[in-house]
């Protein structure tokens, strides 16, 4: 798929993200356009899914807002994503954490993975 790679290199270039996976707690700062004004809103929650490869990849973030579970799917290379901040690395045994949907409160906690600090930035 050289042609498709070429297209994405030309159009979206490479963006830098922290290396995150399912179970991690992240904050996504994304741009919202209201009329002519542009502002940044943040969405903080646990990543429950990473999907796809290359420039069409996406991820799902789940958070509990006022006792109600809210999920948002973001395309990784969306120009509307201003930045992604990695808050916590989670210790999970699965790549897709859909079981979180049936859980709430204490049982929905994700154990934090402790590790030595290293640079976790990578270009994907």
């Amino acid at each position: 798929m050289n042609a498709i790679k070429y297209v994405h290199e030309k159009l979206s270039g490479n963006k830098e993200f922290p290396l995150f996976k399912a179970g991690d707690n992240i904050t996504v700062n994304y741009k919202i356009i209201e009329g002519n004004k542009e502002r940044i809103q943040s969405f903080k929650g646990d990543v429950i899914k990473r999907q796809g490869v290359g420039h069409t990849a996406s991820f799902t973030v789940r958070k509990i807002s006022d006792g109600i579970g809210v999920e948002r799917v973001f395309p990784l290379y969306s120009p509307n994503i201003d930045s992604i901040v990695l808050n916590k690395t989670g210790h999970v045994r699965r790549a897709k954490l859909f079981y979180q949907r049936t859980r709430s409160g204490k049982s929905a906690r994700i154990r934090e993975k402790r590790m030595t600090t290293e640079t976790t930035t990578a270009t994907e």
């Binding site: 798929m1 042609a3 498709i4 070429y6 297209v7 994405h8 030309k10 159009l11 979206s12 741009k31 356009i33 420039h55 069409t56 395309p75 290379y77 969306s78 120009p79 509307n80």
Partner: protein, 205 residues
């Protein structure tokens, strides 16, 4: 009319200026060589014959070689005629993707993927017969009645039945040109395009 011959390379999605994801197909279109100019006087109609894709010389016979030699080009794999071409081109000149502009709507002609022998549900969108439960069985993908009874005593011509599906010429109209890469001869067209990756498509307007 204007048009070009191309090769479907695959699908992906890109972001439009509003940040919305748009599915699109990458097509390598041209460069095509004009190998014959047909005119009203000589042929009874106006058309341009375009050729696309290089071919190994040992696979072309002398008739082909001489035909392409008139246009001063090597033997080509695909030759297609476009009637009443709106751009004036002479024999031997090339046509590139730059005949299209971004945002333009075009028609794309291709050969759909062959699906083999298929039943009426897939082939004609029938919904099968009766219920899935209540004691019924083996009828959920059946074609049902083929027509009338004793008055006619035959099946009418053209009744839709199971059979070979796909591998047909399909034209999709009104697709948008999302992006053009003239240096690589790539053209991005919104949505899907008939055929498998690597198949030949015509982009025309």
């Amino acid at each position: 009319m204007k048009g070009i011959i191309g090769k479907k390379l695959g699908m992906t999605s890109i972001f439009d200026p509003g940040g919305r994801q748009v599915a699109c197909t990458v097509i390598e279109a041209g460069p095509c060589v004009v190998t014959q100019v047909k005119t009203q006087e000589s042929d009874g109609y106006n058309a341009l014959q375009l050729a696309f894709g290089d071919k190994n010389e040992k696979h072309s016979n002398s008739a082909e070689k001489n035909h392409f030699a008139k246009a001063n080009t090597a033997a080509k794999k695909f030759v297609k005629e476009f009637r009443d071409y709106s751009i004036d081109k002479n024999l031997g000149e090339t046509i590139t993707v730059e005949i299209f502009t971004e945002g333009e709507t075009v028609d794309v002609v291709g050969t759909s993927k062959g699906k083999g022998f298929q039943g009426v549900v897939k082939r004609h969108g029938f919904t099968g017969v009766g219920d899935a439960t209540h004691g019924q069985h083996d009828r959920s993908r059946a074609p049902g009645s083929l027509g009338n009874s004793s008055d006619a005593s035959r099946v009418m011509k053209g009744v839709r039945m199971a059979g070979r599906t796909g591998n047909d010429r399909v034209k999709l109209k009104g697709l948008k040109v999302v992006k053009i890469f003239p240096d690589k001869n790539y053209i991005l067209i919104s949505g899907s395009v008939p055929g498998h990756n690597g198949s030949i498509v015509l982009i025309q307007k």
